[in-house]
């Protein structure tokens, strides 16, 4: 049996050791899947993906990329092992040009592969190819997200993690972003997506997991979750998490 593309076992993580935000999460994504992480504000969704990516301290538990344990691997090494992450904000270098943003990311590829890979990405994102010398800080919100995704794809990752890629975008641009993610997933890239835009995210995902108070509360196929009363309850505010004494 092949190992999942990405999995966590009893993962506990957070910014301070005595204040874990992610509190014992077990989950796995199979190769080629697009899984969306849902949950109310403060559920620990962003902390979970940051911990997996190496940006937040893991207090206990493990993260595995395929059959490799990458729990203690630093962020810059995880990219080399095929795990790419697109943060919600500050996800491009605004003082570098579009082309330089891609070059910086391509630096970990063999020299002979860099130009070819950047050309592939320009074909995939023609808007970026139109003005490669433009400073990234001058791009619109949607173009920035596209550059961030292109930058992450440079290394041809086996797993792509995105933290709320539609945040702050107009509905039209957000739809374009989701369409792009779906297309990327169809090329075989495993995607883990944190999203607040539940309907749009479940429309492109195969499966969803729901976090509440740093714990995995529910999971299921995307089509089922879209009409699941638990999801409605969480997002319409009916849910009241238990308060521990």
């Amino acid at each position: 049996m092949t190992a999942p593309a990405l999995s966590t076992q009893a993962l506990v993580a957070g910014y301070e050791r005595d204040l874990p935000i992610v509190r014992g999460i077990d989950f796995a994504i199979n190769t080629g899947e697009l899984v969306v992480v849902l949950g109310p504000n403060g559920a620990g969704k962003s902390t979970l993906v940051k911990a997996i990516s190496g940006l937040v301290s893991i207090h206990s538990g493990t993260v595995r990329l395929g059959d490799r344990d990458v729990t203690a691997v630093p962020a810059h090494e995880k990219v080399r092992q095929g795990l790419a992450f697109v943060p919600q904000t500050e996800n491009i270098f605004t003082t570098l040009s579009i082309h330089e943003n891609l070059l910086v990311a391509a630096n970990i590829l063999p020299k002979e592969a860099r130009s070819r890979r950047i050309a592939d990405l320009y074909r995939m994102f023609p808007d970026l190819a139109a003005r490669p010398s433009l400073k990234a800080g001058q791009l619109s919100g949607g173009q920035r997200q596209m550059l961030a995704v292109a930058r992450a794809l440079i290394v041809a990752p086996s797993v792509l993690i995105l933290d709320e890629p539609s945040a702050g975008l107009s509905p039209k641009i957000a739809t374009e972003v989701f369409r792009t993610l779906k297309a990327i997933n169809q090329t075989g890239v495993t995607i883990l997506l944190v999203e607040q835009n539940v309907k749009a995210a479940l429309a492109i995902a195969q499966r969803g997991v729901i976090l509440v108070d740093g714990k995995l509360r529910h999971e299921g196929p995307a089509a089922t979750l879209a009409g699941d009363p638990i999801v409605a309850e969480l997002y319409l505010g009916a849910h009241r998490p238990a308060v521990s004494a």
């Binding site: 630093p74 962020a75 992450f85 943060p87 003082t95």
Partner: protein
């Protein structure tokens, strides 16, 4: 007189500019004002002095003057070794002090105070080893050549100007045309994002220390060649260096050099028109004025 003041200002400004490039690079990436940078200038000058003396002792041919210059091959050869050793000194200071504080999440003020401590230690070590007596690379006297327009300069001074120009272009090309340069600019903007795009931030920090220390060493050798070598030479340059780095805009190499020339020229003209005792105040006035009026400086971001 004014023409000569301008020439003197340009020469002093070139030295300030080189040192300021080191300051601006380390400030933009390490995110603190390293007050020990002046000591790297002094150490660079003294290391070149010791190595040049050693090479001259090994082969007297190396001390014969090269063309119109006041020094022999022993100095350029020693300069190459001194640049490397000053880089090693910076890496050691990072490994023993700054890196450890960074790992513990040390705040900016802690880093700045640590740099004061490092500066005092390094300066005292120099005084202990070489004494406070001024030293010189050469005792040869140079005659300033007329350059037209009432300006005169010695071959050593012209060499310093030319070398500064070459180094500014080289560093600018390094930052804009090479992978490590782009990584340095990326780390300067966002260290966390740099990590997740695969940049080894620790390697970039080491490169910045090496580059900054190398430039400090060259600035120190120039100052030693054109003026004299003293343990306090770097410390005395610190205010003009920070004034130039902030006037040029943090992170901007051309800005630091242009601002270095502005500070050098301003100091020289102040000596000419106001009085030599006001020379040191010029850099301070520039520093405060930039911070109050235009903190982004000429080409950079807010200091």
């Amino acid at each position: 007189m004014i023409a000569q003041a301008l020439m003197d200002g340009l020469i002093a400004g070139a030295m300030i500019g080189l040192g300021a490039i080191g300051i601006t690079l380390t400030y933009s990436i390490l995110r603190f004002a390293n007050f020990a940078h002046g000591e790297l200038i002094s150490w660079g000058a003294y290391l070149a002095l010791a190595l040049s003396g050693g090479l001259g002792y090994l082969s007297s041919n190396l001390t014969s003057s090269i063309g119109p210059f006041s020094f022999g091959w022993s100095l350029p050869l020693a300069a190459i070794l001194a640049i490397m050793l000053t880089g090693v000194l910076a890496l050691v200071s990072d490994a023993l002090l700054f890196g450890r504080l960074r790992a513990k999440g040390g705040s900016v003020i802690i880093m700045v105070m640590a740099s004061f401590g490092a500066a005092l230690t390094l300066r005292s070590l120099l005084e202990f080893t070489f004494t406070t007596k001024p030293a010189y690379y050469t005792n040869a006297l140079q005659i300033a050549m007329p350059l037209g327009g009432g300006m005169r300069a010695t071959p050593d001074q012209l060499l310093a100007l030319g070398l500064s120009a070459i180094m500014v272009v080289a560093i600018h090309l390094l930052l804009t045309r090479t992978a490590i340069g782009r990584s340095m600019r990326a780390v300067s903007e966002n260290q966390q994002l740099s990590g997740i795009v695969g940049i080894d931030v620790r390697k970039v920090i080491r490169t910045v220390w090496l580059l900054g220390a190398g430039l400090a060493c060259v600035a120190g050798i120039m100052a030693g060649l054109l003026v004299q070598i003293r343990p306090h030479m770097g410390h005395d340059l610190l205010l003009p260096l920070f004034a130039a780095a902030i006037l040029g805009g943090i992170g901007s190499v051309p800005g630091a050099m242009l601002a270095g020339l502005i500070v050098g020229l301003s100091e020289s003209l102040a000596v000419q028109f106001i009085g030599a005792e006001w020379r040191a105040a010029v850099a301070f006035v520039i520093l405060v004025a930039v911070l109050l009026i235009h903190p982004k400086g000429l080409f950079g971001r807010v200091a």
